[in-house]
C-alpha cells in the first residue's frame, strides 16, 4: 500500500488531494469515503450490486473487528484465508480498513477502559478488549490497513484522563506492533488526547517514532461541539507529518466532512448514509460547484416537499406516491436508473427490505460524488470557496424555511 500527497491547497495549505494505492495497482484519490459495513459487507448492498457503484471510489470499506467477536471465530477466518475471502471481495479489488470503532454498534466506552484493555460496546455486549485479543483478530483478518487499539476519549474529559489515554494508547501501540503478523506493516497509529492540544501533540510525536503508515485521529464525533472542532483538528494535523495518510472517525454530515478536509484529513467514515437509509431519505443536495450564492428568488419557494429539504428527500412522504421520476435526475446509480420515487415510497410504506437496498445504493453513490466534487475543488484551487458556499447554501435554505414556517 502506498500513499502520496498530490496537491496541496494553495491558500492555507491544509486541504490536500492524495493518492492511495492498494491491491493490484488500484489508485484511489483522497479525500475519500470508507463505506460502512456490518461484518465486512455493506448493510444492504450485496457484492454483485456493490460493483455497480463508482470505481474506484467505492472500493474502500471500513470493518470493525468487533463484529466478529461472535458467530465466526478468528480461527475460521484464518482457515478461509482472511477477511477478503470470508466476505467474498477480491483482495486485489477491494481495500479493507480495520478500525475498532464503527460509530454505530462498536462504540468506545472510555469509562470502562483500564490498563489492561479498552472497553467497547459491541454487537455482543460490552467487552474489554486486550491488545492480544485484538491482534488475534487482526492477524486472522489480514486487512489492507488497520488501526492499533486506542484508548479513545471524548473532548470533555479531565486533563488527567487525557494524559492516561495517551499513555495507554502508546503502550498498546507497541504491544500491537510487536504482536503483528510480519507481513502486515500497514498500520495507522491513533492520535488521542481529547481536547488537550498538548497531549495530542505528545501523542503525535510518540506515534511518529514508530513505524506507522499514517495516523488515525480519534476522539471526534463523540458529541463535541462543532464550532470548537475546527480549531482542535487543525491543531492536531499541524503536528502530523504532511506526507502521511490521515484518517478520522465520526465526522458524518457533509459540513463536518468539509471541516475535516479543511484541516487536512484524507479518509473518512460516515454513518450518515446508514441513518439516511434507515430513515427513508434519499440524498439530493446539489453537487455542482457553486461559486456564487443561490439566487434569492429561487431560494424563496413555497415549501412543497414537506419533510424534505434541499439536502435530502423524505421518500416516505405521501407527496411522492405518484412521482414516477427517480430520486435525483441524471443520477447514474442503479436505483435512479431503474426505479422511481413512487415505487420506493410504496416499498417504505409496506416495510420491504428492497427500499433500504435501493436507498443505500443511491445515498452511497451521491455521497461518493460529493467527495469527488471536494477533490475537484481542491485541485482547482477553489476549496475554500466551495466550502464556504456549500455551508452558506445549506444555511440559506434553513433561513428560508424558518421564514415560511
Amino acid at each position: 500500500m502506498k500513499f502520496a500527497v498530490q496537491k496541496a491547497w494553495s491558500n492555507s495549505g491544509r486541504a490536500r488531494v492524495g493518492v492511495l494505492e492498494f491491491g493490484s495497482n488500484h489508485k484511489i484519490e483522497t479525500p475519500s469515503l470508507l463505506l460502512s459495513t456490518r461484518k465486512g459487507l455493506p448493510l444492504f448492498i450485496s457484492p454483485d450490486l456493490l460493483s455497480s457503484l463508482p470505481f474506484p471510489d467505492s472500493h474502500l470499506l471500513q470493518v470493525s473487528p468487533f463484529h466478529f467477536l461472535e458467530g465466526i471465530s478468528a480461527k475460521t477466518i484464518s482457515d478461509v484465508g482472511g477477511l477478503h475471502d470470508v466476505v467474498g471481495l477480491n483482495s486485489n479489488d477491494y481495500g479493507l480498513v480495520a478500525v475498532p470503532r464503527d460509530s454505530l454498534v462498536s462504540l468506545p466506552d472510555c469509562d470502562g477502559s483500564n490498563k489492561f484493555g479498552a472497553s467497547f460496546e459491541t454487537p455482543g455486549g460490552r467487552r474489554l478488549i486486550k491488545p492480544s485479543d485484538y491482534m488475534n483478530l487482526i492477524n486472522s483478518m489480514k486487512p489492507n490497513l488497520w488501526v492499533t487499539l486506542a484508548d479513545e476519549v471524548p473532548a470533555w474529559v479531565s486533563q488527567k484522563r487525557n494524559k492516561i489515554s495517551v499513555d495507554r494508547t502508546i503502550t498498546w501501540l507497541d504491544q500491537c506492533l510487536s504482536a503483528q503478523n510480519p507481513s502486515n506493516v500497514v498500520v495507522l497509529g491513533p492520535i488521542v488526547g481529547g481536547s488537550d492540544v498538548e497531549e495530542r501533540r505528545r501523542c503525535a510525536v510518540e506515534v511518529s517514532r514508530r513505524n506507522v503508515f499514517g495516523y488515525w485521529i480519534g476522539g471526534f464525533g463523540l458529541g463535541e461541539s462543532r464550532n470548537e472542532r475546527s480549531d482542535l483538528l487543525s491543531a492536531i494535523t499541524d503536528h502530523l507529518p504532511e506526507e502521511k495518510l490521515r484518517q478520522i472517525c465520526g465526522l458524518e454530515l457533509p459540513e463536518e466532512v468539509l471541516q475535516g478536509v479543511a484541516a487536512g484529513v484524507d479518509l473518512f467514515d460516515s454513518t450518515y448514509i446508514y441513518h439516511l437509509t434507515l430513515g427513508g431519505f434519499g440524498l439530493s443536495f446539489p453537487l455542482e460547484r457553486r461559486t456564487r450564492a443561490i439566487e434569492k428568488d429561487v431560494a424563496i419557494e413555497p415549501i412543497e416537499k414537506a419533510g424534505s429539504d434541499q439536502t435530502k428527500i423524505n421518500l416516505r412522504h405521501i407527496i411522492h406516491r405518484k412521482d414516477m421520476s427517480p430520486i435525483v435526475e441524471d443520477c447514474a446509480c442503479y436505483t435512479c436508473r431503474n426505479h422511481t420515487k413512487a415505487y420506493i415510497n410504496h416499498l417504505l410504506n409496506v416495510h420491504e427490505m428492497l427500499a433500504q437496498i435501493l436507498l443505500e445504493i443511491h445515498n452511497t453513490h451521491h455521497y461518493l460524488a460529493f467527495f469527488r466534487k471536494i477533490r475537484e475543488a481542491i485541485k482547482a484551487g477553489e476549496f475554500e470557496e466551495f466550502h464556504a458556499m456549500f455551508v452558506k447554501n445549506r444555511r440559506e435554505h434553513l433561513a428560508v424555511s424558518s421564514v415560511c414556517a
Binding site: T76, E352, L354, I357
Partner: protein, 467 residues
Amino acid sequence: MGRRNLGPYPKGVKVQAAPLMLTRFVSKTILQFLFAQAPNAGYPLATPPPSTTAHLRQSLQLRRSLYFSMALRFEVLGRFNRARAAQLTLPHYVCHTPLFMPVGTQGTIKGMTNSQLEEIGCQIILGNTYHLALRPTSELIDELGGLHKFMNWPRALLTDSGGFQMVSLLHLADITENGVTFQSPVDGKPMLLTPEESIEIQNRIGADIIMALDDVVRTTITGPRIEEAMYRTLRWIDRCIAAHKRPHEQNLFGIVQGGLDPVLRDICVRGLVDRNLPGYAIGGLAGGEDKDSFWRVVAQCTAALPEDKPRYVMGVGYPLDIVVCSALGADMYDCVYPTRTARFGTALVPEGVLKLKHQAMADDTLPIDPTCTCMVCKNYSRAYIHCLVTKDAMGSQLLSYHNLYYMMKLSRDLHSSIIQGRFPEFVCGFLQKMFPKGDVPKWVCNAMEVAGIDISSCCAPFLTSQD
C-alpha cells in the same frame, strides 16, 4: 353494462356438454379459423399464429401440441409420459415450463433486486392482489401504467384473485354467494370482494396471467361445504369471464376446486374446461393435507385437464413436490417457501435443507452447496452465512438469492431433461441425492408409478448399485 359478454367464445357458438375431446377440438379449430381470417387482430404476441389445421395434424403426430389464445401461446416441445416441457409465450415474456414462480407479495421479492432476479433466470413473478389493492391500491398502479411499469419488471407477472389471503389473513372473513365479505384491515368497515371486483382490480394491475376468484376451502375440512365451494367456483368463473375487460392482454386462469373428492374435482374440471380458458390451476391443495391425497388430486386433475394448455398447481412448494407434480403433468408452481425459509436461515440444497443457524455451521468453511454455481456459493462459506442469518439483512438477502437460484435451476433442469429425453434419469438423480439411503417416501413411489417413471434404482431397500 350492455350485452352479456360471451367471453372467449365468438358470438353465436353454442356450448353444450359435449364430450371433452370434441369440445376441445371444435373450439380449437374455430379459433384457428378465426385467426386465419384476421391474423394479427389484437394479437399482442411476437410470433404470428399458424394458420392451417395441417400444422395441427403434424404436431399431433410429433406429440407436440400447440395452443394459443389472444394473449397466450403454449407449445409442448417435449414429453416423457405425462411430463411435458413447453414454451409458454406471454405478452411480456417467453417462458419455459415446468417453471417455479417466486412470490413477490407486495410488488417485490423480499430482498432481491430486478437485476438479480433476471440474472438467476426468474421468468414470472407472482403478485398478491389483496396486498397490492391495500397498498398502494390498484387505482394508483393503473394510473402509473400498471404493475410492470411500477416495479420496472420487464418479464411476466401473475396475480392471484385476493380471495385466499382474505380467508387466511382476515379475522371474520366470510364467503357468501355474492363474494367474500370481510372487515377492512384499514378501518374495520365491512367490505365485499366480488368476482367482478377481483377481476377489475387485476385488470388495473395488468399482470400477464390473472386468477379467477374461487371459493377456496382447506383440504382438511370435510362435508357439504366442499361441494358448495366447488359449484360456487363454477358460478363465479362465469362472472369473472364476464367482468374481464382485457382478454387480449391478460389471461384468465380458472381454478379447479373440490377438496380431496374425485367426483367433485371431476365436475369442476369439466365445468372449467367447458369455458375454454387459456389455462387452468389446481387449487385448494398445499394446505396441510397428507401427501398421499395431494398427489392423487394432482394426478386426477392433470389427467382430465386439456393437455395442450398450461396447468398451474397453486402453493407448491417443496422441490420434491415440484418434481412429482411435473412428472404427473403440471407446468407451473408458486410458493413463498424458498424466500420465507431463507429468512429463517434455511438453505435449499440437493440433499434437502441446510439449517445455517445451527451451531455446527459456525466453523464450516464449505459453501452452502458445493455443486451450486450461484454468486453466494461461489463466494461465501457456511460459517459466514451462519454469523449473518437472522441478525443482519445481508444474511436474508444472500440466502434468498441462493434459494431462488436453486429453484430456478430446478425449473431449468426439469425443462431441459424432458426435452433432451433424460427425464427419468434426472428424477432418479434428484431422488438419490435427497434420499441417499434409498428411503424414498411411499407417496413419491406411488406417484412415480402412476407417472410411469421407474425409480426402483433409488427406491429399493436393497440398494445394490447406483445404476
